[in-house]
Symmetry: C2
Subunit: 306 residues, 2 copies
């Protein structure tokens, strides 16, 4: 039995927010159920943002309330501010994920705030979460940690400083996000080391995009550095409405194939995962679905193949 790696499916949030079509609530719920049934133990199911900004997320409350009824599933919801975190708590989310842009350009475009102001908002969110009866974890995602399509190079020292401030603000977990897909493996290795030196095991995960085709090479570099928690999206959906040039997340199916091939244990049934693409296609008929394993078929040599 190999070491466990957590795959957090972010398709219902990161994948749908820039989709051209709007997935019906009933299909979204069925999709999340299928993902959970395939063995995904963590799913970011939506975001609590104003519906006028991202109409695809208008039903997030309803989606969270449905998802928390799935046994064993950790339900994550994104919230850009305290108000969203309160809504996430009210709906029953197990974890709230708060984006904090490291670059000022992306911070202004995505959050209409400077990074330091957003760190202060995170502190308000952790204080709120701690004051509640039910435990809700607070995760902070450091957006544009590997570069920004608006500001260009993002100095690693700035990411380290933001991560340290977030740890200080009381978050449970910090994730480094390659929001626009500029990362390369040497950078992943260096930044993971630098951030871990500052905040230790509070650095848990990587959120990678496949913009330049390097997504899984970057995941491999993260694995080499001991990262055991990766975001990914079924069929490689995704992007960021406020990050020009950003394209899809790493493909969940291909990531699971990589992890299981390397001897890690994900708890995910690759065949069932691929089958869940049918619901995605039903709910978003116009969206291009990516993915090597799904298109080529699971190789005969795959260790988990029946």
């Amino acid at each position: 039995m190999g070491e466990h790696v957590i795959v957090c499916e972010v398709g219902p949030r990161d994948g749908l927010q820039i989709a051209k079509g709007r997935m019906p609530t009933e299909v979204k719920t069925r999709w999340i159920e299928a993902l959970a049934a395939a063995g995904l133990a963590e799913i970011e199911v939506g975001s609590f943002v104003p519906p006028r900004l991202i109409p695809q997320m208008a039903d997030t409350g309803e989606i969270v309330r449905a998802a928390v009824r799935i046994p064993g599933l950790t339900v994550v919801a994104l919230a850009p501010n305290l108000r969203g975190a309160e809504a996430a708590y009210a709906a029953g989310a197990h974890r709230v994920s708060v984006p904090v842009s490291v670059s000022e350009g992306h911070s202004r475009a995505n959050l209409n705030r400077m990074p330091a102001e957003q760190v202060a908002e995170v502190a308000r969110i952790t204080a709120f979460a701690r004051a509640q009866e039910r435990r809700m974890e607070v995760e902070a995602g450091c957006s544009t940690a590997f570069g920004c399509s608006i500001d260009g190079i993002v100095p690693p020292a700035r990411t380290v400083a933001i991560a340290a401030a977030l740890a200080e603000a009381g978050v449970d977990e910090v994730v480094l996000a390659d929001t626009v897909g500029y990362a390369h493996p040497a950078q992943v290795r260096a930044l993971v080391r630098a951030v871990r030196a500052a905040i230790g095991p509070k650095l848990t995960g990587l959120h990678l995009h496949d913009t330049m085709g390097l997504g899984l090479a970057n995941a491999l570099a993260g694995l080499d550095e001991g990262i055991r928690n990766f975001d990914a999206a079924l069929a490689g959906l995704g992007g960021c409405p406020y990050a020009p040039g950003a394209s899809g997340n790493i493909v969940t199916e291909d990531l699971v194939f990589l992890l299981e091939s390397l001897g890690f244990e994900t708890g995910i049934d690759l065949q069932a995962l691929i089958a869940a693409r049918a619901i995605l296609r039903e709910g978003l008929p116009g969206e291009p679905l990516r993915g090597g394993v799904a298109q080529a078929g699971i190789p005969r040599t795959f260790r988990a193949a029946a």
Copy 2:
């Protein structure tokens, strides 16, 4: 100045052999010139196979004779047998690449011979090459070294034995090929080590496909093991007509982006490489062109960007 890595462009051979359209000779020559002008120092320009089997390669003699006039370019031609190697020599190729399938199923389908018979053919080719006035290098490519869509698992010991027999047969270089794209990074690491233990520096390169989305992760694993020579195809063209399920080669543009980002020196101008896609599109209007960097644009943070 970083360590040098050789990228051998195989698009004109591996890429075109399964293309639905047939690229006119004049366009092919212009494409090869553009690739060389972008800094690619090794190009596999075609294969000497019977035109009735692969009509796209019928003009390989003419293509080789044109390509050897490009200053500084190492012109590689594939030849499955002595007859093809003789034609490659007659046309002036600097290197002949001979495929040797490790798996029996692929060997029969692709070469109509058993692996041991093909090793004997390679010995005849090296004897022929040594007997000529002009030096022509002989490279052997171990097809299906990481698995076969016909035979399934390919035991590493068999690849090691074939590689050792090829070294014994007098080849200059051995390349390990993931013909059907089944490889994963741990397998790349292990097989490179095992083959190097058997034949030392005669193992020079990797020929990787991106079937499961793992192509560049596998290249990274190869780099970690000291491999400094990779085949790739512009726009990720490619496949094998006799390997069901095989899809495109790793994308040259994305590989160069990876290598230069990691601090390796390729001598290739990424912008000029991307521009060469226009000729490919002109010559094969119906073929889908892949590639992250070409589609997203070279990131602002790329070190070689102007």
